[in-house]
Symmetry: C2
Subunit: 591 residues, 2 copies
């Protein structure tokens, strides 16, 4: 037996008992006659005491314990004289009678404390040490709890967890697949699933009615800070349901998770159409924790002799309240430059500053006199002390740029309260996006998304322009401006699915080759169905008010898709390639 208790278990009521603990040496302090060792495990920290007067040999050994040594100590629980109220075990300590070093440790390359002094790369290489730090350890424990509560809720709602295969078929649509060469089927490849989409639809056809799975998905994309080549989804599908029944179910899940895990009671989630979200916030995932909604200035500003505005498709802006005094000319110049960076790409930034002294300062003062600007402010509710920012140009681009400005100003102005969660359903997305470059439609959600019921006739019979305006029965769950999940009612009719493949530029043969099994399944009594998938990594991060998903993944990869700890990917033996009937062309080309 290595321990009678863990390092977080002992309390004042245990005083006098003999106990055995095992764990890691967090810190050792030599105070002359006494040596104190903080012993750490997943459950907490307990203070060990060694007394030089009582047992010189033992105390001397204790003094030699280094950081992160693994030890086992047996002793008597004592009440502490100087209690530590910040620690659950802070009222007691262990007067150690025997000590056993289970393993030694070299000095760690960085400090294993709340805040570490190690750089990112180093900490990824020594992930096993970084994971000992309580913030990371808590994240992983949090993730485990979130998964358990998710399963508890969905199980309670009659959802069945079904494992779908990992070795599936490559589909050149959408993001890039990871592929896996098949040895038994030479020259052929499996693909790793980007999502279990078609399988969960097949499960609906098979009658499973309510499916879910917490499942790994894979995308071979160039990586950003918040993307990983493998990520986890809460993947769900339901049959015989309307859109609102799906939204209610997963609003229920979200509320349950917030309540159970964070103790937060969320209000009912508002629904907003995609069109409205774009109009009011210039984003399909608006952060509605603060207002600062878009104002359409076009009809007011045009025809006044300012050519830039007169020729602009859109003139939109926001009103930033009470910042006039804080923002000097230099600040505004900096903000303008920030908007002009390539990441945002604004040509400039128009502002109208309503100074506290009643004066007005504006970049467009040459074209619009003070009286006009004053009236404009009054019309749109800009008060003394506010600044109106305006952007103009091509509609879609300008909305995106103004969205960035709005989010930035929301941050700078402290409009976002910590611990505030504002969920929102964004609904009625466009079904298809026209891509000018490739001259074809792309599915906004995915090729299996149904148009809204009332659009089916238009979709089957409409012309090219009609297709651009079709609305999908698709929806996203957005929390605090982050897309947590998305889904749709699916097509369950073979003809409609074929029509959709056709619009998306699939030939009959391609559609049959890639999705013949699904089209076939639709001929044998496919029920109406729909579903949703939540990004599990992101949900973990958002629930903790964090941006990066990496800290919620035990063994993440870096931006080059490398696991720094195990050093993968790596070379493989030529025999392995030979067995797979493969040759790498890389070394031939580069060396």
């Amino acid at each position: 037996m290595f321990r009678s208790h863990n390092c977080g278990a002992l309390r004042i009521s245990d005083v006098g008992n003999e106990v055995t603990l095992s764990g890691w040496v967090q810190i050792s302090r030599d105070l002359g006659g006494l040596t104190f060792v903080d012993l750490r495990d997943r459950y907490g920290i307990t203070q060990l005491v060694f007394n030089m007067d009582e047992n010189e040999d033992l105390c001397s050994r204790a003094r030699k314990l280094g950081r992160e040594f693994v030890i086992q100590a047996t002793g008597i629980v004592r009440e502490r004289s100087n209690k530590n109220p910040n620690r659950a075990t802070g009222e007691i300590e262990i007067e150690v009678k025997s000590l056993n070093v289970l393993n030694v440790s070299k000095t760690p390359p960085f400090t294993i404390e709340e805040e570490s002094d190690g750089g990112d790369e180093l900490r990824m290489q020594y992930r096993y040490l970084d994971l000992r730090r309580s913030p990371l350890q808590n994240n992983i424990l949090f993730r485990s709890k979130l998964a358990i509560e998710t399963r508890k809720y969905l199980d309670g709602q009659n959802f069945v967890e079904v494992e779908t295969p990992v070795l599936i078929k490559t589909t050149p649509e959408g993001a890039r697949d990871f592929v896996v060469p098949s040895r038994m089927n030479p020259g052929q490849f499996y693909a790793l699933p980007q999502s279990p989409q078609t399988f969960k639809q097949i499960l609906m056809v098979a009658g499973f009615d309510r499916y879910f799975q917490i499942v790994k998905c894979f995308r071979d994309e160039d990586l950003r800070a918040d993307r990983q080549p493998e990520f986890t989804q809460i993947d769900c599908e339901m049959a015989f349901v309307t859109r609102d029944e799906i939204l209610d179910t997963f609003e229920g899940l979200t509320k349950y998770l917030f309540k159970t895990i964070k103790g937060i009671e969320l209000q009912d989630f508002p629904k907003m159409s995609y069109d409205e979200a774009m109009r009011r916030y210039g984003s399909d995932k608006p952060d509605v924790r603060f207002d600062m909604e878009f104002i359409d200035f076009a009809s007011d500003m045009k025809g006044k002799g300012f050519g830039v505005f007169d020729n602009a498709e859109a003139i939109i802006g926001i009103c930033a309240e009470g910042i006039a005094e804080k923002y000097s000319n230099k600040d505004l110049k900096n903000l303008t430059e920030w908007m002009q960076r390539p990441q945002i790409g604004a040509k400039g930034l128009v502002y109208i500053k309503y100074n506290e002294d009643g004066s007005i300062k504006s970049t467009i003062g040459k074209f619009y006199d003070d009286a006009f600007l004053k009236a404009l402010g009054e019309k749109f509710g800009a008060k003394t002390g506010d600044i109106i920012f305006m952007l103009s140009g091509e509609e879609e681009k300008t909305r995106k740029q103004l969205n960035e400005l709005r989010l930035e100003m929301g941050q700078r102005m402290g409009l976002i309260k910590e611990g505030d969660f504002k969920p929102l359903w964004v609904v009625d997305f466009p079904l298809l996006e026209w891509d000018e470059e490739s001259e074809r439609f792309h599915a906004m959600h995915h090729p299996f998304t149904s148009p809204k019921q009332e659009e089916i006739g238009r979709m089957l019979n409409g012309d090219h322009e009609t297709m651009k305006s079709l609305k999908a029965d698709a929806y996203d769950l957005v929390i605090n401006g982050v897309e947590i999940g998305g889904g749709s009612i699916r097509i369950h009719d073979r003809d409609l699915q074929s029509k959709n493949f056709d619009l998306l530029g699939f030939s009959k043969e391609e559609a049959e080759k890639q999705f013949g099994f699904l089209l076939g399944a639709f001929e044998y009594g496919a029920p109406p169905h729909g579903g949703i998938a939540f990004g599990f990594d992101r949900l973990c991060a958002v629930l903790n008010g964090k941006n990066s998903i990496r800290d919620f993944i035990a063994f993440p990869k870096n931006n080059q898709g490398r696991d720094m700890m195990i050093d993968a990917p790596s070379d493989i033996h030529q025999e392995q390639l030979d067995e797979l009937y493969l040759d790498t062309t890389y070394s031939k080309e580069e060396n």
Copy 2:
């Protein structure tokens, strides 16, 4: 709203209520004035009634419903005149007022009933229809429940579920890896995990203390009926525990699952050493539901002038009770031929038949007289009516052959009671196996398994012969002769791990390249740890008294590793290969 109730919900207490159901047409019976439709979903079957007299149009439409049509019906719950006691909804039926065909169905290629008339290949191709059959649907629901209960138990024991990566590093040791070419790291490959072994050990080093995961694993092996290229494990690891604490924990899990899911209370699991299992049953996974243990005849049979026996390393047998009369000479000849098939490869089968009339018939009567054989029978408890079977030859081979005979006779003699579950821990496996052909040791369990504590000195200092006799602290859970799980105490000391790699034929460089991260982790305070993994697919099958795991996997692959439904693996586009810096050599060679 598609339904107010599911097809398994309505009872006599609902009579008089208006309800709406949706589901599949199981069968439609036209009885002249009345038409009955059995409507099916995952939850059950409800009978719908259409009355020609009351609504001719509706009834006519009902008559046209084909098998597996998807319909929605609204009507009034009525008490049935002829109740069906075998069905939960058997006391009621729905008098239908309106009918809505949600989707049509072609005639399925096989019957969707308890027993189907479809062949294996056809049913795999139309898996979505096969999964509608209640035996398969129940298997998948069972699997979901088993996973939920497993998680509930382990969560209750403070285990944390941690997701380990799927894209890892190839290790040429053990079974063959599936590999995944990396586009971002040209010429390099990920591998899919054969198990999360090193990651779960790393989690112990990271302080997670109790880890589990229900996780997909991958092996690119030639497939048998009960093997799949992707399979699921309940994977677990614990730190600061002795072997018996691990066994107790997972004996607890197993008992919990049997109790909760099957209502069966299992007795405490006996432990048997590998050596004893081999001696008594010739197998490291003995089926102990019946006795018929091995008898060592060597000292009795040798030196009596029968050359075959005199020169044999081993002479062992079993006593099959009470079958003398049932087994004619022809039956025994057939049994001998069965033993001589290449799958078993016995040279022959010696028997001594103690006939009911007191006479003895034996294949070795020429060498041993009746008096000897009678005394032999008495010594080993063979009674009138029994048959002793004997095999001789090389020790290991002979034990394996006799194990096959024992299992076969157990089956034939009806010694295995349905619903009988006999779990057994097999412990103290050999650490290393000497392979004559490659002239090197192989790890019997895996390279991370610790020798038993008392063997460590011998391992570090012993000679070549010593290594052959080392015992590992490894264990298997066997139920009814099927290996359900296996595990071991792991090495947590860098030097011992290096020594093991050395014995297994790794050069220092190879060990460092492949497992440097683990060796490194052992230098920073690795705690003592050990673990176990259960085969989840197999556990599902065994709990249901079934042999094949395929029926417990929603979308299994066939023996060529193909998914017959989606038709994977498949060709990929040359552009995909180009992006990965790969060329296939297959078509060049074969075409």
